[in-house]
Symmetry: C2
Subunit: 168 residues, 2 copies
């Protein structure tokens, strides 16, 4: 396969993955484009490359910066802003894990905690089932939380080394 075709295919695939994981297609595609680009690109170049509007490009780039996945770069003597992606895939995974933990897991843990305090007739099967479910989910969520916490601090080789060794 030729590079040009492969690039298109990668951008498409990354966009699809993104949308399956609740990240909007365009955002994932812009990220893909920057990920495989050796040079930082301008808004203009991104718009053209992906056939998206200026407004869309601007918002998407802003979001990607918010996720910590790309950064702005300024070139000496130029007014234009350039954007480039962190190419370290482990950093990307960690960054995504970090943001989703903060944005999603933590609020869930908070709600689960509140729900643990439900009151009522302790003989009521409805209450018994409810409490058991909440307790189980709570336990799972806490284990996930701890594992992510470790992942965030860990180096890639150490992390996978440890996990895969245990599972051999």
């Amino acid at each position: 396969m030729e590079l040009a075709a492969a690039k298109l295919k990668f951008i498409e695939a990354w966009g699809k993955i993104g949308s399956e994981w609740g990240i909007n297609r365009t955002m994932a595609q812009v990220h893909a484009l920057l990920l495989i680009s050796p040079e930082a690109l301008t808004t203009e170049e991104i718009m053209e490359n992906l056939s998206i509007s200026r407004g869309n490009a601007n918002m998407t780039l802003r979001d990607l910066i918010g996720w910590g996945l790309i950064e702005k770069q300024h070139k000496a003597g130029e007014r234009k802003e350039y954007f480039f992606a962190d190419k370290d895939v482990w950093n990307i995974a960690r960054q995504v894990a970090k943001e989703r933990k903060k944005r999603e897991l933590e609020p869930v843990l908070k709600v689960l905690n509140e729900l643990s305090a439900v009151t009522g007739n302790e003989k009521d099967p409805e209450l018994i089932t409810f409490k058991k479910s909440i307790a189980d989910i709570n336990k799972l969520a806490n284990n996930v939380d701890k594992t992510l916490e470790t992942m965030l601090k860990a180096e890639e080789n150490w992390f996978w080394g440890s996990i895969l060794k245990v599972f051999k």
Copy 2:
């Protein structure tokens, strides 16, 4: 907090989590409802409880069965179908992991493999960057795949025991 209020809050929260993870809100809410219900419920009861239409309930229940998260049950002497959710949270996590692995991760691994075979001028920075990105993503995806594979086979206590011990 009273049980009735807690149930509503849980259904809402589970729905929100679902939609953040690309599962549609209603599907997650129906799952939540069945998860905290000690008895199997009919389509009718689910419709009423969540204020959704018959068509929606039917499709959603079908999807949940497809994900292996709920099952049909028949009660002796009754024509109606009852639905109930597996209450084992570890099974749920495994089931979701299994389906997403099959539906999403495996196709991605396939595409990444094809993209590894890209050809071109080996001195071209574009090609070098592309190949490096693909190789790195490939490695990460394979590690995730192996870990999920282990998770699918594992008992909950063993799994978390192993992971959390390593990370202590």
